[in-house]
């Protein structure tokens, strides 16, 4: 349904700030009727990829096909079958929610009866009845997000593209949106969403791609990706909050322990140690080795592979570490200017 081939996109050429390679030979295929997740830290290229799919941006190189249509030569055709829910909710504070949806319907050329009927359906589906006739400026974040989702669904798109649809929402609102997305997928809509929440992608996605620095570094279903790692995961916390020196010492101790495949220091979680082990039996060996070396143990937990472990395996750091590394480098003003037309 969506085919992206060798997309490249660079921002900021010849300007004050250094250029940024947002996408670097990025390729992806999303099957029809699939709920597909793009997972990666901020700055990985998720939003850029989605904006290209939504025809808001043209790639520097590469091809984009949606529903068999070339997005570069037939952008209007792509827009007709696609609904886009952007990361930042853009609403007109002066209009009511109903008026905004009516405007949306007119922009998609729905006739009046179809438009009004569809608005009524979506109000019921997304539970907006109590506030839909109030001005958008009075809405909470959750209300705005639901309204934005309704706007994206108004014309019954074959493809729905969502950029971080649940960021900043409470758990109840998030679960409600997840339910709607699952229903859409079950009824045949292709859903492509980006997220930096592991649990969201793990819970929703039939297939996912993990992005780093504008490239796909892993792709498959959650179970395929986790299964490919093999082994179990052990999280060791020497203390509640350790330091780099202590964590490095313990890592050096455990790295060569039989059955341990990999040891990574998780700086975002108090310098805990994430270990990849061959099987559950290794855990006892670890305990013995730590006791023999008189290393205190605050917590030792065992689990199966998670998507964070998939990310860790592919990049050498956890998703949280990646987020923290990027957090200080981001320029929200520059990003907002990039999004301006």
């Amino acid at each position: 349904m969506i085919e992206l081939q060798h997309l490249s996109k660079r921002f900021g050429t010849g300007r004050k700030s250094a250029p940024v390679q947002a996408l670097d030979h990025f390729s992806l295929e999303v099957p029809a009727g699939c709920l597909y997740g793009l997972l990666g830290p901020n700055g990985a290229g998720k939003t850029t990829a989605l904006r290209i799919v939504a025809t808001l941006l043209a790639p520097d190189t590469g091809s984009v096909r949606v529903g068999g249509l070339d997005a570069r030569s037939n952008p209007r055709g792509v827009r007709r079958l696609l609904g886009y829910v952007a990361q930042e909710v853009a609403i007109d504070k002066i209009l009511t929610g109903r008026e905004l949806l009516a405007l949306q319907g007119d922009l998609y050329h729905l006739n009046r009866s179809e438009r009004d009927g569809r608005i009524a359906e979506l109000i019921a589906l997304l539970g907006m009845g109590d506030w839909i006739d109030r001005r958008c400026g009075s809405y909470s974040g959750g209300m705005r997000r639901r309204l934005d989702l309704a706007a994206g669904l108004l014309h019954r798109p074959q493809v729905l593209v969502l950029d971080e649809p649940t960021v900043g929402l409470d758990i109840e609102s998030r679960s409600a949106i997840w339910q709607v997305l699952r229903q859409l997928r079950d009824q045949g809509t292709t859903v492509l969403l980006s997220s930096h929440y592991l649990e969201e992608v793990d819970a929703l996605a039939d297939r996912l791609a993990i992005l780093e620095a504008g490239r796909v570094i892993a792709e498959g279903s959650p179970s395929e990706l986790k299964g490919a790692l093999g082994g179990d995961r052990v999280t060791l916390r020497v203390r509640e909050f350790s330091d780099e020196a202590e964590a490095s010492r313990v890592r050096a101790l455990l790295e060569h322990c039989e059955g341990v495949n990999q040891v990574v220091i998780n700086r975002s979680q108090g310098h805990s140690l994430n270990l990849v082990v061959e099987n559950a039996a290794v855990v006892e060996r670890l305990r013995n080795q730590l006791e023999a070396a008189q290393v205190p143990v605050f917590a030792l937990a065992q689990s199966r592979a998670s998507l964070d472990d998939v990310y860790l395996q592919a990049t050498g750091r956890t998703l949280m570490d990646a987020e923290l590394a990027v957090a200080g480098q981001r320029d929200p003003k520059a990003e907002r200017k990039q999004a301006m037309r």
Binding site: L56, A86, L107, L125, R135, Q158, Q187, R336, M340, R341
Partner: protein, 292 residues
């Protein structure tokens, strides 16, 4: 949220006849224009300020020179009558100069992206909606000033004169709207756009014949005023307010004695029309780049 029946979300399209391109463009444009008017009705301060400010100018400036000797001004008459045309034009000009602000805010806060992902038949409907809105707003505000000027005893242009006033204002509004929209897409943010509007507004007013005739000005200012688009709108309207205005003389009666030559009403309107067309053509590449 409710657990609605699956059919509510089923993607499908009825096999209805495709509407024509004109119908789709009409639907898009009307919807976008309606939005702008809804904003105006719910936040009327812009409209009120747009009428109040010129009214205050008309009353205060008119009173300021109320005792100026008659015969001092070209064509005779009171200063209030002289000033009326200038204030009418300035009202329309100010409104049109702000045409780009809604577009700028839409750019900055992401609403324009919402419009651009929609399958608009023509993205010109975004521009057309702004033009329709600002033209209507400017004309209504200007007509309010025309009515007030009449109540203050500053004259009434009569039927044909009123038509000339409307045509002149339309051409000026088109030209200035094009300029404002171009600035809205060229400048990086609303602060810069407001700064340009702020800087341009009063100097353009003072360097025109809105407040004083060319004969009162030094040579350098006279040249500036004689090239100022506002002057090409003010003088035909001033002529329409003169008691001797005749529609069949608009191509022959001189309304502006400029340093470079004499201009009739038709000449002035031709210049405004050329300016409007030229500005829209000039901003077209920018709009194409930003909206495609």
């Amino acid at each position: 949220m409710t657990s609605a029946s699956p059919t509510s979300l089923t993607p499908h399209r009825d096999a209805a006849a495709e509407p024509s391109a004109l119908a789709e463009i009409g639907q898009e444009t009307l919807a976008l224009t309606r939005r702008l008017f809804l904003q105006l009705f719910r936040r009327p301060s812009t409209f009120v300020a747009g009428v109040l400010q010129p009214l205050i100018w008309l009353v205060l400036f008119g009173a300021l020179f109320a005792k100026a000797p008659e015969g001092l001004l070209p064509g005779g008459g009171s200063y209030g009558r002289f000033l009326g045309a200038g204030v009418i034009v300035f009202t329309a000009f100010s409104a049109a100069l702000n045409a780009g602000l809604p577009v700028m805010f839409d750019r900055e806060f992401g609403f324009l992206n919402r419009l651009l992902v929609a399958p608009l038949r023509s993205r010109s409907s975004i521009v057309l909606a702004s033009v329709l809105y600002i033209t209507s707003l400017s004309l209504v505000q200007s007509l309010a000033i025309v009515a007030t000027a009449a109540l203050l005893g500053y004259g009434w242009p009569g039927g044909p004169g009123l038509v000339l006033v409307l045509i002149t204002l339309l051409l000026l509004v088109f030209a200035v709207t094009a300029l404002s929209l171009g600035l809205a897409f060229a400048l990086p943010g609303h602060i810069e756009l407001i700064a340009v509007i702020f800087v341009a507004n009063l100097p353009l007013l003072f360097a025109s014949t809105a407040l004083a005739p060319l004969s009162f000005m030094p040579a350098w200012l006279g040249w500036l005023a004689a090239l100022n688009p506002l002057t090409f709108a003010i003088e035909p309207i001033r002529a329409a307010y003169a008691g001797t205005f005749q529609l069949n003389h608009i191509a022959t009666d001189v309304v502006l004695q400029a340093p470079y030559g004499s201009l009739t009403t038709v000449s002035c309107l031709f210049i405004l029309a050329t300016l409007a067309l030229g500005l829209f053509l000039a901003i077209r590449p920018l709009l194409d780049r930003k909206l495609t």
